[in-house]
Amino acid sequence: MLAYLIRRAILAVLTIWAVSLLSFIIIQLPPGDYLTAYIAQMSASGGFISQEEVDALRHEYGLDRPLSVQYLRWMRMVLRGNFGVSLEWSRPVSEVIGDRLWLTMVVSVAAVVLTWALALPIGIYSAVRQYSLGDYLATLVGFVGLAVPSFLLALVLMYLGFTLFNANIGGLFSDEFAQAPWSWAKAWDLMKHLPLPALILGLAGTAQLIRIMRANLLDELRKPYVVTARARGLPEMRVILKYPVRVALNPFASTVGYLLPYVVSGSIIVSLVLSLPTVGPLLLKALVAQDMFLAGTIVLLLGVLTVIGTFLSDLLLMWIDPRIRLEGRK
């Protein structure tokens, strides 16, 4: 078991390092740097900036050093908790990101939790009552989740919400709480607004998980130990829930690891559509403006948080499956 933990931990660290590299590369890709864009913006609005000022700025922001140096410099800053300054907003990156990052994670985690809460019972029901009406309904919902990309779903729901209910379903807070400082009331307001974005984000994953659960459970239900359990006189409910579900839960739980990055990814676009105060819209603007520190930090932090979340879910898997605990194999 320990070996397994250590291995996953090493992989997590490796992944984080890869994320940092990747995010740094991505940001450096566009030709020119932030200052090029800044200058263009300045001259477009009629401002003027001298070459010396440009050079000075360049030196100040370290933009004249070789890339590897810039990377190391950045990493050192990050590890000390200093995420740099957003060149566009002229404020520390951590300030600009503010609540958005962890709101992103809240929505994503809510989506994952909702996915589980929905997919598990529906999947079980679907398998046990194969070909019933419930099964077909579940399959139908599954198709919607499968075929409609989350941002389209958000668009359609937003439109329907507007035309049918004259309600704006976007946003994570009611107006009065949007800018207010944190309080229990604000937290409750958030909870009230969470289900819909969580559902939209999670639907695709839910559909997939329902299919996996259904398929796995159908396989398990045919196995001898289920028959044995029944032959020992167990009531039907327990026969299903205690045995095959527990076994079918394994591949289920192992997909959670990949659900989180998928949902976080999806939240970027969906939050644009639904105007959620998460990291998505901010990232888009930062990328377009080539605001290196901001964009890079967002990508890095998203990656790190996702890896941590995945690691936690691996721990969960370990707890569920005794075979891993005892033999230490994946």
């Binding site: 992989l11 490796l14 992944t15 890869a18 994320v19 990747l22 995010s23 991505i26 940001i27 890709l29 566009p30 030709p31 198709f143 499968l146 075929a147 409609v148 990309p149 941002f151 389209l152 668009l155 359609v156 937003m158 439109y159 507007f162 035309t163 704006n168 976007g170 690891g257 990949y258 990055p261 998928y262 976080v264 990814s265 999806g266 970027i268 676009i269 644009l272 559509v273 990232l283 888009l284 990328l287 377009v288 080539q290 964009a295 967002i298 990508v299 998203l302 990656g303 996702t306 890896v307 995945t310």
Partner: protein, 383 residues
């Protein structure tokens, strides 16, 4: 005392009609696959739909009736026209022409359908813009057109967008772009996936571990920010073609991991199969083993996985273009079309802009059904 072994009775040569059971045992792998696939009704429906869509790709110019880039500010944001099929009892499809008048309050020119102006709609019209069917044959034949069309009297079956461009025609071209980029992307993904997954699965060892770790890492991080970053890095001054190519490469980078996993998995399990060992023992060289023995075994799985990867490509391109980071105007794709429907305000005023979402959903569903059927049929000899 040794007995003579009984002589086998010689059966007379006759044609014995093959029973249904026995047909199964002599069918080829592909026949079995086809039979199993055929039983999957949803998959059959999906396949037909997909084929129809790709037919539309070929005939995009024919199906459109105006140039997709022809814009007229005056016709901005017009709602879809209804085709009225009967004119005083006779079958005579027509649409109502528009009359413009100045709205007394906003002082803007407002166009409303005028039942007085009837413009006949005709099918298979020679008129409208010229194009080249299949890239070679010049033609002016279009599916729909209006009779005696003057510049003001045109069709807009699905309404117009903000620049006054006809949405139906744009949708036809958008379909073409989205579906072809999907194919191109999946092709690249396939190459990447087969090469890397194949090496990984066949040779194992360090190479396998490295590639596997790379795939793991890619799977455990949210990748959309990465692709957004890549796409945002494309210089503004690139041509449409260059952007198209770059986007194809980017979306292929999104999907290759799944294909590589499938290929690797298949190679790993096939490597252990007895028939591979038998081939080795009978002296087959590596290449022969790979192409004659291994490939037919996993080809069907690869086809299924590839089909299931196309929707991923389509969604990726649509998402990127929707964000403004993918294909850019004047290129037209489903994502580009949907970009105009981003905000609630836009949707409130002109909800028909959302129509481009419909083919997206239909194609993705159809491809998924088709891929599911292929996957189920892929192993006709049992899972």
């Amino acid at each position: 005392m040794a007995e003579r072994a009984p002589v086998l009775r010689e059966e007379p040569e006759e044609t014995i009609p093959v029973t249904a059971e026995e047909r199964i045992s002599v069918a080829t792998q592909w026949q079995l696959m086809w039979w199993r696939f055929r039983r999957h009704r949803l998959a059959m429906v999906g396949t037909i739909v997909v084929l129809l869509f790709y037919l539309a790709v070929l005939l995009a110019d024919f199906l459109a009736y105006v140039e997709p880039t022809a814009s007229e500010a005056q016709r901005s944001l017009l709602p879809p026209q209804r085709i009225h099929w009967f004119d005083e009892g006779r079958l005579s499809p027509h649409v109502y022409g528009l009359t413009g008048r100045r709205d007394p309050v906003t002082l803007k020119r407002v166009y409303t359908p005028d039942p007085g102006k009837r413009i006949r709609v005709r099918f298979f019209v020679r008129g409208g813009f010229e194009y080249q069917l299949l890239g070679i044959i010049p033609s002016t034949l279009h599916l729909l057109g209006v009779e005696g069309a003057s510049p003001e009297e045109t069709l807009f079956l699905l309404g117009t967008d903000e620049q006054g461009r006809d949405l139906w025609s744009r949708l036809m071209y958008g379909t073409r772009t989205s579906l072809t980029i999907g194919l191109a992307g999946v092709g690249l993904s396939l190459v990447l996936g087969v090469v890397l997954g194949g090496i990984s699965g066949l040779y194992g060892g360090v190479v396998d571990t490295v590639i596997q770790r790379v795939i793991e890492i890619l799977r455990s991080i949210p990748t959309i920010p990465l692709w957004m970053g890549l796409a945002a890095a494309l210089p503004n001054d690139w041509t449409v073609m260059q952007v198209y190519l770059a986007i194809t490469i980017i979306i292929s980078l999104i999907g290759w991991t799944e294909l590589a996993r499938v290929v690797r998995g298949r190679f790993l399990s096939l490597r252990e199969e007895d028939f591979v060992m038998a081939a080795e023992l009978s002296g087959c060289g590596q290449t022969r083993i790979i192409f004659t023995h291994l490939v037919p075994s996993f080809l069907s799985h690869i086809i299924a996985a590839t089909t299931l990867a196309i929707p991923v490509m389509i969604i990726s391109e649509t998402s990127l273009s929707f964000l403004g980071l993918g294909l850019r105007p004047p290129a037209i794709s489903w994502g580009v079309l949907l970009q105009q429907a981003q905000t609630i305000q836009a949707l409130a005023i002109s909800p028909w802009l959302l129509i481009s979402a419909v083919p997206v959903i239909i194609v993705i569903l159809a491809l998924n059904f088709m891929g599911d059927g292929l996957r189920d049929a892929a192993d006709p000899y049992g899972h």
